[in-house]
């Protein structure tokens, strides 16, 4: 299909917008796993563990069951790439208000601009994400220095279900894969923004269960990502079509410390109430290489409720706790957030979020954060 000149301009404008913004995490919404009637993240995503580029079925789901209508196809159906090529992207802009300490701050900023590519060749495929990393403070690096690829991997996967193996840069599958990289279970356990590791991962995705095992290490040539070596495994078992339980474990050894984490997840969609429950609890043990440095036991926990009042709207609340040292008093932090997400058309999302965080159980003087975000996926 030949593009008309205005379509070429529109395509170029979208690509340019992608390059001019910043790169953040691009995980999917696990809220859609059971609430849309699907049990597997990989049903809608090219990745076997969900997140990133969505496939044709995911695009159909986005327009038919998630949004308030529209055309979910790539470029809204203006141009269809060849069968072996899949393109997409996530672009987010946000207004943020926060009050941490004495002075409130606000900012209008590009939050994410990731462009995705997936190339298929038989049982093999290549997936890559290119975007710009954030540079909020002076001195800002040059634009070309900010270009980064958070994910790039080669994968062997004969079918959508069954075994797969992939090698490259990606997050080791672990627990709930939430889109908010500041969630304690992500931020404090090695899954924050730009902390993707290089590794070799394999797994099985079946109708009733899935398992993933990953060995990872630091970047071979570049200065990106964590310096730790380690491994992670996660298992999820579906209970019918509306619930799942799982377990996960991870070991990461850096030049300064070794962190051991083990935990579980629980997910259930209560269909009559249109209510989804997502939970994760992890216990950690961190040992330090320096002499006379005591090890510490840690806790990271998340409980989220999502209500789907009508198609196109999600209302969520979540409570979190992270305690960096269970043996020491006043090292815990808690958060409470409320989120409203409106998928007013396929490709578009408007999100409003309010978050309170408290240290040391001092709930009378919380940190306040408000966020309004507009999200467009290509």
């Amino acid at each position: 299909m030949q593009l008309r000149s205005w379509q070429k301009i529109a395509l170029a404008a979208v690509m340019a917008a992608g390059v001019l913004a910043t790169s953040r995490t691009a995980r999917a919404y696990p809220q859609f796993q059971f609430s849309t009637g699907n049990t597997q993240c990989s049903l809608c995503h090219f990745s076997p563990v969900g997140g990133g580029l969505i496939n044709a079925y995911g695009r159909y789901e986005a327009e038919a069951t998630i949004s308030r209508g529209g055309n979910g196809d790539f470029l809204h159906g203006l141009w269809e790439p060849p069968k072996w090529l899949h393109l997409g992207g996530d672009y987010r802009g946000a207004f943020l208000y926060k009050k941490v300490g004495v002075e409130p701050h606000d900012a209008l900023f590009p939050m994410q601009a990731d462009t995705y590519v997936n190339i298929e060749a038989g049982d093999f495929s290549f997936s890559g994400i290119v975007g710009l990393r954030a540079a909020a403070r002076e001195p800002r690096p040059e634009l070309h220095e900010r270009i980064i690829s958070r994910e790039h991997y080669v994968m062997w996967r004969p079918k959508r279900t069954g075994p797969y193996v992939r090698a490259g840069r990606f997050f080791a599958p672990f627990g709930l894969r939430l889109p908010d990289h500041t969630a304690y279970i992500l931020r404090y356990q090695g899954f924050n923004s730009l902390q993707e590791t290089y590794g070799l991962s394999g797994g099985m995705v079946e109708k009733d269960w899935e398992a993933h095992v990953t060995g990872f290490g630091p970047a071979p040539f570049w200065r990106v990502g964590p310096k730790a070596w380690g491994g992670a495994g996660t298992y999820e078992h579906h209970i019918g079509k509306k619930a799942a339980v799982g377990a996960q474990a991870k070991v990461a050894a850096s030049p300064e410390d070794t962190q051991y984490i083990a935990g579980g997840v629980g997910k259930v969609y209560i269909e009559p109430a249109k209510l989804l429950v997502l939970s994760e609890v992890d216990l950690g043990l961190q040992t330090f290489d320096a002499d006379n440095s005591p090890s510490r036991k840690q806790l990271a926990a998340y409980l989220g409720l999502t209500y789907f009042p009508i198609q196109g709207i999600m209302v969520g609340t979540a409570v979190e706790r992270y305690d960096e040292d269970l043996d020491i008093k006043d090292t815990e932090r808690d958060s409470l957030n409320l989120t409203v997400q409106y998928f007013f058309r396929a490709h578009f999302e408007l999100m409003l979020m309010g978050k309170l965080e408290a240290q040391d159980q001092d709930y009378g003087d919380p940190t306040v954060l408000g966020l309004a975000m507009l999200h467009y996926y290509l």
Binding site: V100, A134, V224, D330, Q359
Partner: protein, 138 residues
Amino acid sequence: MKSAMRMSACGLFALALVGLGACGGTDDRPATWSYVHAAIIAPNCTTSACHSELSKTAGLNFETPESAYIFLTGRVCDGTTGVEPPPRNFVTPFRPAESKLMYLLLGTELETMPPDVPLPEADIDLIERWILEGAQCN
């Protein structure tokens, strides 16, 4: 069946919060740089988008104990002074009241660091203790 599902989703969470989240004793952690960096600076300040070797937000690289020590104190671990970049009075040994780092961590008069959520009070106290004991590279 439904009640079992609900328990599976919420049980672990409640157990962990109630049973494990409320304990904690006195802070006898060592006020040494090796511990302060590994236990506080690295997990809270050096994620890839902030003061990592890659991002160097505000020109600061806290990724290794050695680089963080230079940027905070203006000295290398063998005691040499006059290294680049010059110190910005982040840490004045023995004098937390004259150390900009303390004001950043406490969020008084300056923007709070980390910018999204402050450090636990126990960690700020430990860093203050490290400064009071001379901010050594030990």
